[in-house]
């Protein structure tokens, strides 16, 4: 490509960071020193566009921000137009194209942390460190909701470092990050709903997440062995019979997705694990990845075998450094033992996994935006059809599954489809992970069989704190819906929540007591969607702004006109947006108005 560069040079350190990822440049034409050979011929290199995000991360991790010279050098190395790379870099909020300190504190100000005092934390930080922007900044949900209010410090360097604060105090007292099982209250208790009934979380806190041997001593890799005896078609049959549906929010039958992908004549097929857990209030996938990383790797291997994939990607949200390290270690260990690679378990099946880090964009959890992001593009959702099973990653048939969905495959294969389906209800089989947060005594990750009610779950978590009363529960996260205290008998199943006009979504259960400022929470939700809209389609790009503006006006003075306006804008977002983000951006607000009477009843204002 005849690219035009602006002749800005990278620093030695920037160059080193990029070369560490990509290796030394192949020729003078792609950023190396000019040799005699370069004067006489030039061969087009491999298409490496998909390494754009990793390269941006490499610089951002080492230096803390991406200079013009660094971006230019990345573009030369990867043959990416500089304008194009600029557009990509500015899409992701974790990348900075302006100088900033090497250590930046990301303070979560999302729903849960907001409900647990993030505002005060920010106020004290502002007093001490000045306005947000450079050394600290406000952040959407960090997935540390059980420890709200939370903050994450990222420090650039070689290697980069991080620190987690949760619950963060105004002084930002440093303490060791608690073990992952601290997020699973059930593992600390006995009795009904206690640790011994856990299926998906059974190893969290029980095994050393860094030890493959520990994993194998607790039935690890038994499911894969069974998978090889079943064969791809047999696995798909088991998954279909088990009634497994996706846990990412859309609740699509996993077996059907696998079957459709396996059937595609076009090759290669790709497997993508959606670990871009970004729905405010969600942290279940983080707990699995941190506490039981081999489970995900084994499950992905099974999925890949069933669907004919030789390559799998874990698209991991960028704000999960501990999960990144544990998964990286686990993949290396699995590879070393022949559980990944050219000949998995000696069965002649080749499969490997690469982790790709997101960089601060909620939209990349959308199943087609994830492809664009892995390919090194802006994380904008694609129009469907074509669906991922036909044309997904790199235009090839792709199966995309959420972390929780994938790890469900292990109990299915271990105990068989019928045993698995015996748990839960007819329409929702197995167990479900719930991210309980907000004003409850024991926030954390809970695993319950489908069919348990919201009340059961709240009881397990000890209910709202002493002296408070329940105001509302937000189910499903920012894209979900509120329910009232008189609706606690809703069964927590896909069909049950649907019938009640709400959704399980990604399993968020945000509890709000009578002290919660609902209007403020709605404003935060609106702000979240405005921030996270990719900007591609008009209904979402402008609609989320108009929604937020109307809510601000309503917060001051409820007026019928603004409510009509909200509904009309909400309707066009739901009807005409490209992807689920825009289509659901009005759900929570709508439910707050219709179910909780915010802005309409006197009680609300």
């Amino acid at each position: 490509m005849d690219l035009r560069f602006r002749d800005t040079e990278p620093t030695d350190e920037e160059r080193a960071a990029i070369d560490a990822l990509l290796g030394p440049p192949a020729s003078g034409w792609v950023g190396g020193a000019r040799t005699d050979d370069d004067l006489r011929f030039a061969a087009a290199g491999e298409q490496e566009r998909d390494l754009l995000l990793p390269a941006l991360h490499a610089v951002n991790d080492r230096i803390g921000w991406i200079s013009e010279g660094a971006l230019d050098y990345i573009c030369r190395r990867l043959t990416v137009p500089p304008a194009d790379a600029y557009g990509v870099a500015t899409f992701y909020s974790m990348f900075s194209l302006k100088p900033r300190p090497s250590r930046v504190l990301h303070v979560c100000t999302d729903l849960v942390c907001e409900a647990r005092g993030a505002a005060g934390l920010c106020a004290s930080l502002e007093e001490r460190l000045g306005p947000p922007g450079l050394s600290w900044q406000r952040s959407p949900c960090l997935g540390l909701c059980e420890r709200a209010p939370a903050a994450l410090a990222l420090e650039a360097g070689d290697p980069p470092a991080h620190a987690v604060y949760g619950p963060a105090d105004a002084a930002l007292t440093e303490f060791a990050e608690p073990p992952v099982e601290a997020a699973v209250p059930q593992s600390l208790h006995s009795g009904p709903g206690a640790g011994d009934e856990l299926v998906l979380l059974r190893r969290v806190g029980v095994v050393d997440p860094g030890s493959l041997d520990d994993y194998r001593s607790t039935d690890g890799y038994a499911a894969l062995r069974r998978a090889f005896t079943l064969g791809p078609a047999g696995i798909i049959r088991e998954v279909l019979d088990a009634g497994l549906v996706g846990r990412g929010g859309a609740a699509f039958p996993t077996g059907r997705k696998w079957e459709a992908t396996a059937r595609q004549p076009d090759h290669p097929h790709y497997l993508v694990c959606n670990a871009d857990e970004s729905e405010p209030g969600t942290f279940k996938d983080r707990v699995i990845m941190e506490g039981d990383p081999f489970a995900l790797i084994e499950a992905m291997t099974i999925a890949a075998y069933a669907t004919g994939c030789r390559k799998g990607y874990i698209y991991l949200r960028g704000e999960y450094p501990r999960a990144f390290h544990r998964l990286t270690g686990a993949i290396a260990a699995a590879r070393a033992r022949g559980l990944l690679g050219d000949d998995v378990m000696g069965q002649g099946f080749a499969f490997d996994i690469e982790i790709r880090r997101g960089a601060g964009a909620y939209i990349c959890g959308e199943e087609t935006a994830i492809f664009n992001s892995i390919e090194g593009q802006r994380g904008e959702p694609r129009s469907k059809p074509p669906f991922p099973v036909e044309k997904g990653l790199f235009g090839k048939p792709t199966v995309v599954n959420n972390v929780e969905t994938l790890v469900n495959v292990l109990p299915i294969l271990l105990s068989g489809a019928s045993a698995y389906a015996a748990t839960g209800t007819e329409g929702s089989t197995g167990t479900k992970l719930f991210c309980l947060s907000g004003n409850v005594r024991r926030p954390g990750l809970y695993e319950l069989p489908f069919g348990a009610t919201l009340r059961d779950l709240l009881d397990l978590a000890g209910g709202v704190p002493e002296g408070r009363s329940l105001r509302a529960v937000l189910l499903g996260g920012a894209a979900g819906a509120f329910v009232r205290p008189d609706e606690l008998d809703i069964p927590l199943t896909f069909e049950g929540t649907r019938a009640a006009g709400t959704t399980l979504g990604s399993g968020v259960v945000l509890v709000l007591d009578d002290g919660a400022d609902l209007v403020k929470i709605l404003l935060r939700i609106a702000e979240f969607f405005r921030d996270e809209s990719c900007g591609q389609c008009v209904p979402c790009r402008v609609g989320t702004v108009r929604q937020e503006e109307a809510l601000h006006r309503l917060a001051i003075k409820p007026q019928a006109g603004d409510l009509t306006l909200l509904r009309e804008v909400g309707q066009v977002m739901r009807d005409a947006s490209i992807c689920g983000l825009g289509q659901t951006a009005w759900n929570a607000v709508e439910s707050a108005i219709d179910r909780l009477g915010v802005f309409t009843s006197e009680e609300a204002s």
């Binding site: 490509m1 005849d2 690219l3 034409w29 000019r34 006489r40 011929f41 030039a42 061969a43 087009a44």
Partner: protein, 641 residues
């Protein structure tokens, strides 16, 4: 380092005649009388061959038809040519020698549908940007592209493989590719046997050119030569495209033949998606030749020496045609120098600035008794004229047709009224014809075109209404009822030997290095070319304010700049054995040590063609613009330390 932009040319709005050595405003009557009188005087004194017509590759087919008819009928000579000579005459000569027809064999669409594209001596990305979009479509659809060019141009940067050969070593490279194909057994024996002649001799002639030997001469690594050979030969479809990097050499027709040899060897011609495409440099340089505005062909590219062809024209034109070739542009200039051509009618050409060795061109034009220039600007050439006739700009102030590089004849339509007293070319030609005793009158361009369609079988089916309907039609189009395939020479694949016709001959060729040799005094190879936003001598392109324009520079590689102690923007003296110019330095890694580059876009500021050599191709007459030997000197001696 930005140079002040040259003042754009203003349109000519009234005729000029020369009195006492000075051009002054005149009426049309006076100017036409003066022009006709001068022609008559010279023809009467020295015979019709003392007249030369330089027709305009910028103007319409219809105007070129009338101009060549004027030359052949009103004057009675075949001395008609155009600037075709300075660019693609070798392509026409080479292609017509092999296939009997001088046009490119393929269509743009086929480049999108092919498997391998070879861009040889073509900076199409900048010189033919919209053609290159078709190449890019092909690349996006999976075609592999190879670029052969001394410079790593914008085109080369899109290539899967760029081969940076030494200037003027195209024949060794092509020979090595051919030898490799033959030795790898990848030549198309069925095609060679049925549709070609002279293979054995050709194979013997390329035998010494092993890739390793070629590497010594061309500078291109043997491995890269092999890769090109294998890719081209094994492709199901392949397009070979070239531009002036092939044709602006002293042995240009041989260069073209060397490329054609490769297509014959592999059967990459005469099929959809496989072909040979010379990219024409001017809007109607293809059409000018097609219309017979060349000294050896009658309209429809018909052979002037064929008595039957001549007879048909003589009948329609009611005049006899000299049964011999006229002078080409190069020969005309020589004949002016020798006093054999004494009058010249020059339409829309600017040889003073476009010809190699421009100083000698000025001298030769200066020896004419009577020079009439018809143009839209008072160019450097027009300033030498005895009579200057202000013309309309063909592309927007006249009706007619142009023919593009894929042989597509397309309608040109009048959108503007010409300024002042400027008039349509065809009207002016008819006015002069009437003054010289031929009562010509055409009621618009369509009448001219219909006359041409009667005489040229290749154009017979192209009525204006059909051209409109199909957005242009590619020749040949012999019938109003059908459209021919977009590629030429499908006959070569016919099973019936009669339908197959004359076999296409391989050419046995010798390498002949550039005439202007490098030595200690002139150690740098200067090659010339175009930039994206400028055009030829800049007469047209200086008219708009291009943000990309930086004026003339001498481009050289960072290594040479360091070695010579030069910095970007510094003015330096560039000298060849013929002349000297001063231009600022521009540093470009697309070049390599020993290779420098200039354009000819700013002749009023930097006359690059005072450096180039007028070593011409003996067959086609094109000069070796692509290879001069120069030296670069600092204007101010470097300070010590």
């Amino acid at each position: 380092m930005k140079q002040k932009r040259a003042e754009p040319y203003d349109r000519l709005t009234h005729p000029l005649v020369r009195d006492d050595g000075v051009l002054r405003r005149a009426t049309w009557e006076e100017a036409l009388d003066r022009a006709a009188e001068g022609f008559r005087r010279n023809i009467e004194a020295h015979g019709p061959n003392a007249f030369a017509m330089l027709s305009c590759a910028r103007s319409t087919n219809e105007m070129n038809y009338v101009a060549q008819k004027f030359t052949r009928v009103v004057v009675g000579t075949n001395n008609v040519d155009s600037c075709n000579r300075t660019c693609h005459a070798p392509s026409v000569a080479g292609l017509s020698a092999v296939f009997g027809s001088g046009g490119g064999t393929s269509s743009y669409q086929e480049v999108e549908d092919t498997d391998v594209i070879v861009m040889w001596g073509s900076a199409a990305r900048n010189a033919h940007p919209i053609f290159f979009q078709h190449v890019l479509k092909g690349i996006r659809k999976g075609a592999k592209m190879f670029a052969v060019d001394p410079r790593r141009t914008g085109t080369a940067q899109w290539a899967d493989l760029w081969l940076g050969l030494n200037v003027g070593t195209d024949i060794p490279l092509a020979h090595a590719v051919a030898r490799e194909i033959i030795h790898a057994g990848l030549h198309n024996t069925a095609f060679i046997e049925r549709a070609t002649s002279g293979f054995e001799e050709f194979a013997r002639s390329v035998e010494p050119w092993t890739p390793e030997v070629a590497e010594q001469v061309t500078g291109v690594p043997a491995e890269a030569i092999r890769r090109l050979a294998h890719a081209y030969a094994t492709a199901d479809r392949a397009q070979l495209c070239w531009t002036l990097g092939i044709t602006e050499h002293h042995n240009a027709t041989d260069n073209v033949r060397a490329l054609i040899n490769l297509a014959l060897l592999t059967g990459h011609v005469g099929r959809y998606g496989s072909g040979l495409s010379p990219l024409r440099g001017q809007n109607n340089v293809q059409g000018g030749g097609d219309m017979g505005a060349i000294p050896n062909r009658l309209p429809g590219f018909q052979d002037l020496l064929d008595p039957e062809v001549r007879a048909r024209f003589e009948q329609v034109w009611s005049n006899t045609i000299q049964p011999r070739h006229g002078l080409n542009l190069t020969e005309m200039l020589e004949a002016m120098g020798e006093g054999e051509v004494t009058t010249c009618y020059l339409i829309g050409e600017n040889p003073v600035q476009s010809e190699a060795d421009s100083l000698s061109c000025i001298k030769r034009l200066g020896m004419l008794d009577h020079l009439v220039v018809q143009d839209i600007f008072l160019t450097k050439t027009a300033q030498m004229a005895d009579v200057v006739l202000p013309a309309s700009a063909a592309w927007c102030e006249a009706d007619g047709t142009f023919t593009n590089s894929e042989r597509r004849v397309q309608r040109v339509r009048k959108a503007l009224t010409p300024p002042g007293e400027a008039r349509d070319d065809i009207e002016i030609l008819c006015d002069l014809a009437r003054r010289l005793g031929h009562d010509w009158h055409y009621d618009g361009a369509e009448e001219v075109w219909d006359e041409l369609r009667r005489l040229s079988p290749a154009h017979t089916g192209m009525s204006y209404s059909r051209l409109e309907e199909h957005q242009g039609i590619q020749w040949p189009c012999p019938s109003e009822d059908s459209i021919e395939p977009p590629y030429l020479h499908g006959r070569l694949w016919a099973t019936d030997p009669v339908a197959r016709g004359t076999p296409a001959p391989f050419a046995v060729l010798e390498h002949s290095p550039p005439v202007d040799v490098l030595d200690e005094e002139f150690p740098l190879r200067l090659t010339t070319g175009r930039r994206l936003d400028s055009y030829n001598t800049g007469v047209q392109s200086s008219g708009f304010a291009s943000p990309l324009r930086r004026g003339e520079t001498v481009e050289l590689c960072p290594e040479d700049a360091r070695r010579l102690g030069l910095t970007a923007g510094e003015e330096v003296r560039i000298s060849s054995r013929r002349g000297t110019v001063v231009a600022p330095v521009f540093i470009d890694p697309a070049l390599r040590p020993g290779l420098v580059f200039m354009t000819m876009h700013f002749p009023d500021e930097v006359d690059t063609n005072s450096l180039t050599i007028e070593a011409t191709c003996p067959i086609a007459g094109t000069a070796e613009f692509k290879a001069a030997a120069v030296r670069i000197d600092k204007l101010v001696p470097a300070k010590a330390g």
